[in-house]
Amino acid sequence: MLYANFWRRNLGFAKLAIASNIEYRLNFLVDALVQPCLSSVVEVVLWISIFAGAGMTLIGGFPVESYISYALWATFMGRISSSWMYEFRMIEEIDSGSINSLIVRPMSFYEYYLSQLMGYKFITTAVSLVVPLVLFQIFNLPFHLDRLPICLILVFYYLILVHSLSFIVASLAFYLNRAHSFTAAKNLGLWLLSGELFPLDLLPEPFKTLFSYLPFSSGVYVPTAYITGRIGQEAVIQGFISVTGGLIVANLIGWALWKQAMKNYSGTGA
């Protein structure tokens, strides 16, 4: 019964995120379609320029098509696996005191935002997916369509870790008046560690091995490299394991920060 209620309300939060976002139609279309298109163009131009500038046909053993293919999927995966918007909202809720109306209800702040994040990502993924699929058809780029479902599952699983990190950053807002700077710093770190900036297999050892074993590589590098044929299935399994480890660590830290914060919380703004 309690379990059913848990799913019922969390499905409600996910629907809330979808309803709130599609309420502003233009904003939603820009976010789900225009931005992915522009990012894809930038990535394609960047890799073509790199190859042209270097005067090489292979970099790290892969041709330009492979990099364009990687860049397009990495852009797509990177957009799914980031959560700055909800992280900002969480920080704002704590800063402004509007969190008060959430914590006096029979639900948790963590689940409320996680379900909203999932709902929002679900709808934007469904729409944004059109961009790489169309571009791959047009330019006839190499990728394995049959690997897409498991890659999406891994990215959505990783998204829970991303949310847990957001929860940690947001919890800092109880201690510091402005925690937004942590979001920017964390996102920069994830941009590099996830492999969104460039494929992690271009890194020299020991960074290559170290970064690919960290859970963050499961956000972009592992699913992108798998779908474009750069790595095998064992890396995906490894990805699930490392994300699980990351989830345990992040949630332990988040839980401790939250518990301590609640002890000192003064119910700002009400």
């Binding site: 309300r9 709130s20 914590i103 006096v104 703004g269 009400a270």
Partner: protein
Amino acid sequence: MNYVIETKDLGRSYETYKKPEGLMNSIKGFWNRQTIRKSALKGVNLQIRPGQIVGLVGANGAGKTTLLKILSGLIMPTEGSAHVLGTVPSERDYHFLSRISILLGQKNQLWWDISPIDSYALLAKIYNLDPDKARARVYELAKKLQCDHVLETQLRRLSLGERMKMEIIGALLHEPEVMFLDEPTIGLDIVAQSTIREFLADYVKNKGPTIILTSHYMDDIAKLADQLLLISHGEIVYNGTVNAFSQKASQVQTLQFRLDKNLEKAIPLKSGQQIEAGHREYQVQVVNEEVPWLIAELTKESQLQDLKLIEADFEDVIRQFLEKESRVR
């Protein structure tokens, strides 16, 4: 006896830091901050029975909202203990949270980007209510509050009064046993205030929840509350019935009069104040038994042309209390 709300030596203090003026002090404060400990609530002992409506009155910063926040589980006390419905509120047990409701009049608690009807559907899921029954209840409450025509309008597009009515429906949807209402009529026009007041009075009569209500409008307290708590500097300074307080209030009257000529000599009153000489028109506050004596004093050398006795009402006395508190601060 079973109490719904019980507190023992309840207290809460905050730590904040000094922010002296100027850029240099801001730079100094970057590595050397002076913290200050401020006590918002001290030694509060309460015992509230089921079904009581308690009016909590005090000046700004007296500790009213802090008390509500502790009792609703929003914040933890730093001293003493609180029990609401037999539970420690700060544990935020889901069963406890589904039996209470807190309405913060200055804050939106419904969702800004969606319509109230969608917000209520979500609240029904959060509180595990039957969706059909919840919807029927929403329409019933909205009809009573005369706002059913805006249920499907995005919350951000509603007027303040309409929003407050929506917030009240949201707070009552799960039929809470204990309600904390913090300024439910703040900023509303007289019509909206009285609609909400009548609605709450009717709701209390039918459902009998325990309510702690704070308001700057004494009409809210006088018409809804049966118990009065006056809070000052974080301490409860009066805890009794509203009737007893009103009786106490009626011992003071305002005497308004006009003389045929300027008063020649000042007249000292029992309260320590005095009626200054040199004027013809006066309005003074006197205790009941002093009135005949004062009239006799005035008519010794002058003739009274107009005399009016105005009984001090509940609001006047509360206002005097709050004014006194503000001066002490």
